[in-house]
Symmetry: C2
């Protein structure tokens, strides 16, 4: 049982994997309404200005600003009211000297007028006349044409993830259909003679499948479609057949490999038989997660995760999630869900590998503390009991108690 990995640092391993996986060609056109959190596949510019007409931001009177110049409470300016601007329509008249039109927030500025005076700065004299008690500048209390977006302005780069306000921004311009990256289909296969489906009752020596479900959750959160493909025993022919079938209907394949050296070798052999170039990386300098396999088979990325649930989740976060972003052509650096907290314990490490430690967040004396949740990497509940993870960098001897650490939340 020889262990002969060429162990790569995570960043280097990811680069090798990325270099061999082509950008994802599949895009689809969907209703903007359905595009929340999808990745835009086109660069969008504004075909028209927003707004297309000057709008009032106040309830008040539209008028010519110059007619109000010099107006004060003691020396008001007089205006005759020539009508009311209807909401959603243009005002049929032109506002002339010393004339005003009633206007509401969002109303369209009438021709002739160039400002709005707030109702609170006016005094009604009679049904047709008002006093204006303060001067307004041209453009005051208005949104002008193109103030939100100018015609031809860049709206979104390709690769943007569409957030709630982005949907609103698209709709404001009448862009009701968008081209987005198709959600990558990720086939997931669990392997191991000892692994059974969660609905079954285990005999002595058997355990229920965990990794299919943690990985499916991560895939869904990263914008992919998880396609669970069942559990395959430790048999080369069976695994080769199952992975070949799974990869045919998917854009990417995840094999939750057995943890023993022999089953890891099985996964590697199957990857090499599945398609060119096969295995690219066998082993990464990360704890937990060293026995990771990264490959590409006929243009489709394949990853062999370690069987231990904690290792599988760390490795999926480090490699599977970035690959899913790449497959969706999403180049924007991820603003990950992070918090800064202080470490409750010393955490020694060994230079030459990245260590990932699960932590619980606790608030004490108004401060946020990160408390390590120690546990072997085959215990799924160390993850369940944790709020996030911290990373001890590649060339560090460890972290000190009290040190500020970045916690990546689950």
């Amino acid at each position: 049982m020889p262990e002969m990995f060429k162990v790569l640092p995570p960043a280097e391993a990811l680069k090798v994997w990325f270099d061999h996986a082509s950008p994802f060609p599949r895009v689809e056109s969907i209703a903007t309404e359905e595009a929340l959190d999808r990745v835009l596949a086109e660069r969008l510019t504004a075909r028209s200005a927003l707004p297309t007409f000057a709008r009032s931001t106040m309830d008040g009177y539209a008028l010519r600003a110059e007619d109000s110049f010099g107006a004060t409470e003691s020396l008001p300016a007089y205006f005759s009211v020539i009508g009311e601007v209807p909401m959603g329509r243009s005002f049929p008249q032109t506002v002339g000297p010393a004339q005003a039109a009633v206007i509401y927030t969002g109303g369209m500025l009438p021709a002739g007028a160039d400002a709005v005076v707030m109702v609170e700065r006016t005094q009604k004299l009679d049904a047709a006349n008002i006093e204006v008690l303060r001067s307004v500048a041209p453009g005051e209390n208005l949104v002008y044409v193109g103030e939100d977006v100018k015609e031809g302005e860049l709206l979104f780069e390709a690769g943007s993830i569409l957030r709630p306000q982005d949907l609103g921004g698209l709709m404001a311009l009448g862009i009701t259909q968008v081209s987005v990256a198709a959600r990558p289909r990720v086939a997931i296969i669990s392997t191991g003679d000892e692994v059974i489906a969660p609905g079954q009752t285990p005999n002595p020596g058997q355990i229920r499948d965990v990794n299919t479900y943690t990985v499916a959750g991560l895939v869904a959160r990263a914008g992919g479609i998880a396609v669970p493909c069942g559990i395959i025993g430790d048999n080369y022919q069976a695994l080769l057949l199952a992975t070949r079938a799974a990869l045919e209907n998917a854009d990417m394949l995840v094999i939750s490999a057995g943890s023993s050296v022999s089953t890891r070798d099985l996964t590697a052999d199957v990857l090499n038989a599945l398609g060119e170039p096969g295995v690219l990386v066998h082993g990464v300098a990360v704890k937990p997660g060293k026995p990771t396999i990264l490959g590409v088979c006929n243009g489709k990325p394949v990853i062999g995760l370690p069987g231990n649930p904690v290792s599988a989740m760390v490795v999926a976060g480090l490699f599977l999630v970035p690959m899913l972003r790449r497959l969706q052509n999403n180049p924007r650096p991820l603003l990950r869900q992070r918090l800064t907290a202080q470490l409750t314990h010393n955490l020694p490490s060994v230079p030459g590998r990245e260590d990932y430690i699960q932590v619980k967040l606790v608030e004490r004396e108004g401060r946020l503390w990160a408390e390590p949740v120690f546990g072997k990497s085959n215990l799924i509940y160390t993850l369940v009991k944790s709020d996030g993870m911290i990373c001890i960098p590649l060339n560090s001897n460890g972290l000190y108690q009290g040190e500020a650490v970045d916690v990546e939340l689950f």
Copy 2:
């Protein structure tokens, strides 16, 4: 056009609203596989231990630890190999004194054995005999029964949001079905004579609906089901009929109100007619977002959002999202997506209200800076161009350039 709000601080307004909205009674039973990001409606304890048998964490030999005591490279201990532990099954024999069984990672510890020695610490003598070059302690290289979860142990409190690893943890124990809070149905109505559907071409004075879509996105992200109910003109009867119909098929109602005082009054009147107790809060001390209406009609929460898209989004984040969490019985304080950054500008404010400012994150000299995106609250693209928001607290005069601020990411 009188403005007669009794303006409440946001926290106080939320409390009033919460006090009148009953906890949500609807739960549903779904497959654990489908339960990602859902809120658990039951408290779950372990009906069995995990694992149910002691498992090896290494490839090596299972043996009685005491037989290895004192073994060194120069003075090894001798063992006869009596067989190999099959994966997923128990070993049919008992390991006796000076006996060992081949075992792989994840294999079930045979009867008689109490430790595993790593294969790297052994030397093969012949087909049936090995030397052990280092002593092992009882329990070494093992996961013992219940080490992950003990029988009867608390797994999840009701109200937990199920993350990827939580699904795995449930599956590990055979919990393939869970009771979760039903996703609240949130009806959304946009109002305004000037508002048209995004697919239509606006005439002068008309604008496309934005808020239905930003709100729908926020609702979906907070676990609700958005039910867009169209656009209603500024007409009391029409709005009353539409809101009544919408609320019948929903758990909550959002009215994106017009921004002028008269249409705000319309929304309040409709709320009071819809059901008891009607309007609870009319105006909150927040900028933008002051003309917010919070109400409860026959047990169902109703919110009147300001019409300006930026105000609507700020207010939806402050009130709608927490209410959606409450309706799902999710008491766990939200670990919001936050980053700390340094402010690029002075930001004056007025004590007595909370100010929300959109910011863009920029990295300069290795530091993260929050750069305010100034723009009127009726410009949707100030939100599109922003990465997040910062809050100037209720009783602050503002924030200083260079100050560290919490940025809540969109």
